[in-house]
């Protein structure tokens, strides 16, 4: 490769990066009304997930992506939820009131969203329950093209430090639920199915989902 061709390649890479950076826009989602007002103290403990107060810092995503999970089919480890129905997970309603969440459980449970086809996923927002101060245990999020989640599984979030779910120990931190939901940076992972595990919460042994948003675009 001569000097000219190397320069061209570097130039092409630089311009491509610049073009990609130009296309990044803040992720915009409609937040529900806060139901629970948490502790008024802003958190600055380095190793504790801070409960969000006010607006979340902008999270940059490629322009043109959409919530691929909206109104998509949801399945679960327990086909008959205790309260609500599985379609509530992707119905677009993020309110904290009764009637907005599905209650699955108790113990280790999962819900799974079928995006319909493989997609490039850049961000996921999940609301378990936000009408009171609550932490869900062993939260794991995975993406795969395999509906059974046996092969080609990518774990995008895991705070199951003790490996209670048997999916491998996680390094992510526990967090207190808020009306802003938990944002997971999925870094453009590809997959058709998104699965969320949890194992009860600080109030009871049940698992709840108000809404899940999967932000991305169909894979090329």
């Amino acid at each position: 490769m001569n000097k000219f061709s190397v320069s061209l390649a570097v130039f092409a890479m630089l311009t491509a990066d610049a073009a990609q950076a130009d296309d990044l826009v803040p992720l915009r989602t409609e937040l529900p009304k806060p139901v629970f007002i948490g502790t008024p103290v802003p958190f600055k403990v380095s190793n504790l997930e801070p409960p969000l107060k006010g607006k979340r810092p902008d999270f940059m995503v490629p322009a043109g992506i959409t919530n691929l999970a909206l109104n998509k089919t949801v399945t679960s480890s327990t086909p008959d939820p205790i309260t609500g129905t599985l379609d509530l997970v992707t119905d677009g309603d993020k309110a904290g009131d009764e009637g907005s969440f599905v209650e699955v459980g108790p113990g280790k449970q999962w819900v799974q969203i079928d995006l319909g086809k493989e997609a490039d996923i850049f961000a996921i927002l999940v609301w378990h329950y936000h009408s009171q101060e609550r932490v869900y245990f062993d939260v794991v999020a995975q993406v795969s093209d395999d509906a059974a989640f046996i092969k080609d599984v990518t774990t995008i979030f895991n705070n199951d430090a003790a490996n209670e779910l048997g999916l491998g120990p996680g390094k992510d931190l526990d967090y207190i639920e808020t009306y802003q939901g938990k944002l997971i940076d999925t870094k453009g992972v590809k997959g058709r199915y998104v699965r969320f595990y949890s194992k009860g919460n600080t109030t009871n042994k049940l698992n709840h989902y108000i809404e899940v948003e999967v932000w991305g675009k169909p894979a090329a």
């Binding site: 629970f36 103290v41 958190f43 403990v45 190793n47 504790l48 919460n201 600080t202 009871n204």
Partner: protein, 501 residues
């Protein structure tokens, strides 16, 4: 001459039992034993509510040999602790650390059984069937069962209220000095349970005064009866609050409690609507209709000159319902005070149906009127007291400690073992740490700090989320572990840095 429709109907039922004291007491002793059998299973399973934990701590102080010091802010009188102390001693416990949930809850369980027995002493006053129905509803209904398994003052308070009603009426009607002494004792125990006894003194006074105004007029009790009742009340009350003469300041503190109670009555975060107790007492709308028949029967009987105690009960019930409902501050255990007159009125209602509807058909109606509330109550008790006693969906589990907190002590023990810490130093930093003192009672080196205080170095920190930030570098590199304390409250355990979960 009165025709058949207006002819007063005497409380005709239970004559056979009236004629046989042994038969009557056999019934109520059997019911009391059933009450104990219902209340005893799984007594230690439910997590300790914050109020139980506070009461357990005070009982532990008494067990350790300290005397009771009345705190007018929020701690009530000494009766619960004085009764719990010998029960715990009989269980072989000598200090707070060795106390268990079961040992503490045995006291209200026993008092719950005694309350059922007390209805046997009320047969001459209210009639056999009303007392039988009331006793049965105390044996099986969710409110009395749930709070008889709960280390707070309410079960004792209700027992003392019933004792005061029965002995007070005997003293007034029979001019009995002995009954007056018992009434004075019960009134002192009532005050020694909770300061809200003044509400009941007022309601009872109004009811009795009204009864004395209704014809035929009652004879006023003798001066001796009043002096004995008042004397026993004052002497017992003083002995209880001053810890048998050791703390005379308690008397002035008791006077100061009035202003605190007045402030608390405004709600302090526990405000609920006027109808709160009605919905809590009778979610299936079964008890109030039956009690309504009881009100009718009581008023009718009083008007006919047959029996006036039913009317006294109606006025007392009305007064107590109105007062408790009008006070913004409401908690579910306070509803137990309303359950007592409600079940007696239910009993009067069923007795009224039994007495007025003759024949097989009438008896069946009365039997169904008795059986349906009992069956409904038993079903509710199964769900609320045993299947989900600490669930946030349980209306009786008010701001209850969640089961998740039960993980904390074994987790601390496990981590301490991994770190080779025989006696780990544990610093709790939270504005409201209860019920943690109960759950950490077996760890000898535990300190409690407010969020603005520096706890110094510790092996483990336990903080509220809000208190965590102020600890700064003390928490650096420690991986937080969350635990639920109450439905609205989480706490964070910060193990030593080296520990991996």
């Amino acid at each position: 001459m009165q025709n058949e429709e207006t002819k007063p109907v005497p409380p005709a039922t239970g004559r056979r039992f009236h004629s046989s004291l042994i038969g009557r007491w056999a019934v109520f002793v059997a019911l009391a034993l059933i009450a104990l059998a219902v209340r005893l299973p799984l007594l230690g399973e439910r997590p300790m509510h914050t109020d139980e934990a506070v009461n357990g701590y005070i009982a532990g102080e008494l067990l350790a040999g300290e005397s009771f010091h009345y705190d007018p802010q929020d701690r009530h009188g000494p009766v619960l602790y004085l009764l719990a102390k010998p029960v715990a001693r009989l269980c072989g416990t000598r200090d707070f650390a060795a106390l268990t949930e079961t040992q503490l809850r045995l006291t209200p369980v026993i008092v719950g059984g005694v309350t059922v027995l007390l209805f046997g002493a009320g047969v001459e006053i209210f009639g056999f069937i009303p007392c039988l129905i009331a006793a049965l509803l105390f044996v099986v209904a969710p409110l009395p069962v749930y709070y008889s398994r709960y280390f707070i003052h309410e079960t004792l308070f209700v027992a003392a209220t019933l004792g005061l009603m029965l002995s007070g009426w005997r003293a007034l009607k029979g001019n009995s000095v002995r009954a007056a002494a018992v009434a004075g004792l019960c009134a002192a125990l009532l005050l020694g349970c909770k300061e809200t006894s003044v509400i009941h003194f007022f309601a009872l006074a109004v009811a009795v005064a009204a009864a004395f105004l209704v014809k035929p007029r009652e004879k006023l009790p003798s001066f001796n009866v009043l002096v004995v009742a008042l004397g026993v009340f004052i002497v017992t009350g003083v002995l209880l609050f001053t810890s048998f003469g050791q703390n005379w300041r308690a008397l002035s503190d008791l006077c100061r409690a009035v202003s605190h109670l007045a402030a608390r009555a405004s709600g302090e975060g526990h405000q609920k609507p006027f109808s709160y107790y009605f919905a809590l007492l009778d979610p299936t709308s079964i008890f109030f209709p039956v009690a309504g028949v009881g009100v009718y029967a009581a008023v009718y009987d009083a008007g006919a000159g047959v029996r006036k105690t039913g009317l006294v009960l109606v006025i007392y019930a009305l007064a107590i319902f109105l007062i408790y409902s009008a006070i913004p501050y409401k908690t579910p255990w306070l509803a137990l005070n309303l359950w007592l007159p409600l079940v007696l009125l239910c009993g009067l209602g069923i007795e009224g149906i039994w007495a007025r509807l003759k024949g097989v058909k009438g008896r069946w109606i009365a039997a169904i009127a008795a059986a349906v509330p009992l069956a409904v109550a038993a079903q509710q008790t199964k769900a609320l007291a045993f299947e989900r006693p600490a669930s946030e969906k349980n209306p009786l589990a008010y701001a209850h400690t969640v089961e998740d907190l039960l993980r904390l002590p074994p987790r601390l023990e496990q981590l301490a073992k991994e770190e080779n810490l025989a006696q780990p130093l544990i610093a709790v930093v939270a504005a409201d740490p209860w019920p943690l003192p109960w759950y950490l009672r077996k760890f000898p080196r535990v300190g409690f700090w407010q969020p603005d205080q520096d706890p110094g170095a510790a092996d483990f920190y336990i903080t509220s989320p809000g208190a965590a930030e102020r600890l700064g570098d003390k928490l650096k590199d420690r991986r937080p572990e969350f635990f639920g304390a109450r439905p609205e409250v989480v706490i964070i355990l910060w193990p030593p840095k080296e520990t991996t979960p």
